[in-house]
Symmetry: C2
Subunit: 436 residues, 2 copies
């Protein structure tokens, strides 16, 4: 069992609504549950589908209208002001193959309960509803079955073409379209018009735990460079071929994995590097590898550090080529700078936290989130709750009940205020406009 943090969130009296939230979260965690206490709910697999059916029922029981767009994003709509645009609140319910229970799922359920709570309140005559409210469960945020990640929000925001996304294949050759077709989750619309967005997520780090804060107010996302790398050597007998004749693609790839780690060690705390995926060809016990494909990421909260790390990586690639005789092809598949969330949204969330007596602090997000796509179009509030020991993408991922409830309480207030137009006028984003 994880230990309690020294300064836990103030425990609110656990009222009926809070208990209902925790009960619903326990139910959610049964979909794709693994024996180790985690979940396996990759996009459009049966556990993901079953959970979506359950979630649609929950939304409808609470008076929301459930609709799907053309990429399978699931929306629960609460129309309070006919024809007005929506405050879109939510996250994703799909998971990595061996994942924890909280990543994404917490944010979707918290969004639903926040909207249920706001919907059940008597309208405040001093601050009547201006916008409608939408709960969203974005399709395929994790990208473990269908690359790239954040697919549903990328299509919604026009960053990724619909046809490209639908034609993406998993390892067995099944396309997104084929996987979604039998589920009933492929709609014929483009989803609601958005005017603001909010997302709450577990931190996936330990900044909040270390400082003892209950809430992270996400001010920006780290800069990142993501490379698709192919190392080419020459196939040879792994026993008989004399060593100087070998051009071993796996040796070249291994030196790159080590180089990535050494780069991070050179910039402690301000550079994260990773190779999570690496495939060897022909991957035979008696054959020197002719080809290795791998994904290498560099991330930093400082664009200058990232630029320097990219230079050093390039230098090291050239050395590895010279030392081993392999060739290294690098393709920069994704690149973005340090990207701020709208400060007005951060301020609104901070004032809500203060009003509720929740300790908070600004934080940056290293991981990608659907809200990063959304903030390009509408003012977006991103909130974090603590992760015990920063464990993430792991069945041992854990957040205390008190922190889950504190986050829900804050998200409810933020949703209410965004819906009441407290952030002032904003230009609505109409999804699919450029497709029309």
């Amino acid at each position: 069992m994880p230990t309690s943090r020294p300064t836990a969130a103030p425990t609110p009296a656990r009222n009926e609504d809070d208990q209902r939230f925790l009960d619903d979260f326990a139910t959610m965690s049964t979909f794709g549950a693994t024996p180790e206490g985690g979940v396996d709910r990759q996009a459009a697999t049966e556990p993901d589908n079953a959970q979506r059916r359950w979630f649609a029922d929950l939304l409808e029981e609470n008076g929301l209208r459930v609709v799907y767009d053309r990429i399978g994003n699931q929306f629960g709509l609460l129309e309070r002001v006919p024809g007005a645009p929506y405050v879109v609140v939510g996250s994703h319910m799909d998971s990595q193959p061996t994942a924890g229970r909280f990543d994404g799922a917490y944010g979707v359920l918290a969004a639903a309960h926040a909207v249920f709570r706001v919907a059940s309140e008597e309208p405040d005559p001093a601050s009547p509803p201006v916008h409608n409210l939408a709960v969203v469960n974005w399709f395929n945020e994790e990208g473990s079955r269908f690359e790239p990640s954040m697919m549903g929000s990328a299509v919604y925001t026009g960053r990724l073409g619909l046809e490209t996304a639908l034609a993406t294949r998993d390892r067995t050759g099944t396309t997104v379209a084929e996987a979604l077709a039998p589920t009933g989750f492929l709609g014929d619309g483009d989803g609601p018009e958005a005017v603001f967005c909010a997302e709450i997520h577990i931190e996936q780090g330990r900044v909040l735990e270390d400082s003892g804060s209950s809430i992270g107010l996400v001010s920006a996302s780290w800069a990142a460079s993501k490379y698709e790398i192919t190392v080419r050597g020459e196939q040879a007998h792994s026993g008989a071929t004399v060593m100087p004749d070998r051009r071993d693609a796996l040796l070249g790839a291994s030196l790159l994995v080590v180089a990535a780690r050494e780069l991070a060690d050179r910039f402690p705390g301000v550079l994260h590097t990773a190779v999570g995926k690496l495939d060897v060809y022909p991957n035979s016990p008696v054959v020197v590898a002719s080809r290795v494909e791998l994904l290498l990421d560099l991330r930093s909260p400082d664009e200058d550090v990232l630029a320097r790390a990219n230079e050093l990586l390039l230098e090291r690639v050239a050395e590895i080529e010279a030392e081993t005789g392999v060739t290294v092809e690098r393709h920069l598949s994704h690149a973005w700078g340090v990207n701020p969330y709208q400060p007005s949204g951060v301020d609104l969330a901070r004032s809500s936290a203060e009003r509720l007596g929740l300790s908070s602090e600004p934080i940056m997000t290293v991981a990608g989130h659907d809200s990063i796509n959304m903030k390009e179009h509408v003012p977006t509030v991103m909130l974090f709750v603590p992760s015990v020991s920063g464990v993430s993408h792991n069945v041992g991922e854990y957040t205390e009940d008190a922190d889950l409830i504190a986050g829900l309480t804050l998200l409810t207030d933020v949703t209410r205020r965004l819906g009441a137009g407290e952030l002032g006028p904003a230009t609505p984003y109409v999804p699919g406009e450029d497709r029309a």
Copy 2:
């Protein structure tokens, strides 16, 4: 095109029999032919099966009786002395997924033509046949579809249990028994009784090319230690998790790949090391690997060097564990010392080469061959012909026609002399005896 070696084998007048051999070899190379000029004939796949059907016809057309044992080894029997044991001559026709045309296939066809030639000769009254002759095409020497390699000869020689071999599964879950059942290549006997063995193979190195010899007389096999290694780390978010918290199994595995190469560089020429197969779990773009499985081999012609290399590897493993926080489990799956072929067989082959005017030299084999299993039971002659540039397990593998013919000529003489009992009395090996 490969260039000619400076001192090519003396080109024999290309007679009809030699041309027939080259034509048959060209036909063989069409089975599983790849666009790059190589072959893909993994064990019990359709190209392997089609080639075996063609080969059975060739053996029968030349008067041999074709039989299969319980693991699918294919034998062509020439019974000249009723009830006498057999000189077993051959190699394997299966291949790696992207392989050259010569590996194994040359040795099987050369064995067949050697036996055809001996069969067609008038018996020498001074040296009449004492033993019968068998051509063999061993099942699954490569081990790329079903591990371990050298499966057919391992079962024949009792080193591997029949039931274990038949129950071995490929990546799709198909067992050897299931793959062989529909082919008609699963017999109900144990194969012929053997008294001597001979195999010819391409060198898969460049010792012969460098020295200009036509024939390698294999005196021994290198010592080897083969490890199955599991590196365990902890799954984590590959972006968000702070670097000091990561226990990255792929980093640990990569350091091992690099360490293996550095070991080889410490003992130039007398230590070959390799990691050919490496699998990452969960192998996701955004997850730090929790587990990597890999196969690491050390091979040396010097047992003391191998022992020292094993010690150094163990030291390095401990360092890697300490540096990265991973754990490394090593299982020594195969280990053998420097293993001589019977010197009487080497001498017989040398005298044949001299008589035929072929330059030869002693050589060791680094790669495994079916004859390594056979020499544990009966005196065995292993011969090499040159490989251009030492290229092996690669579609660019090449041996000159003149060298192929020289090898066939020598193998014919060796087969004739073994069949005439020139190596003296030997105890026949009865396959399956311990199963009875």
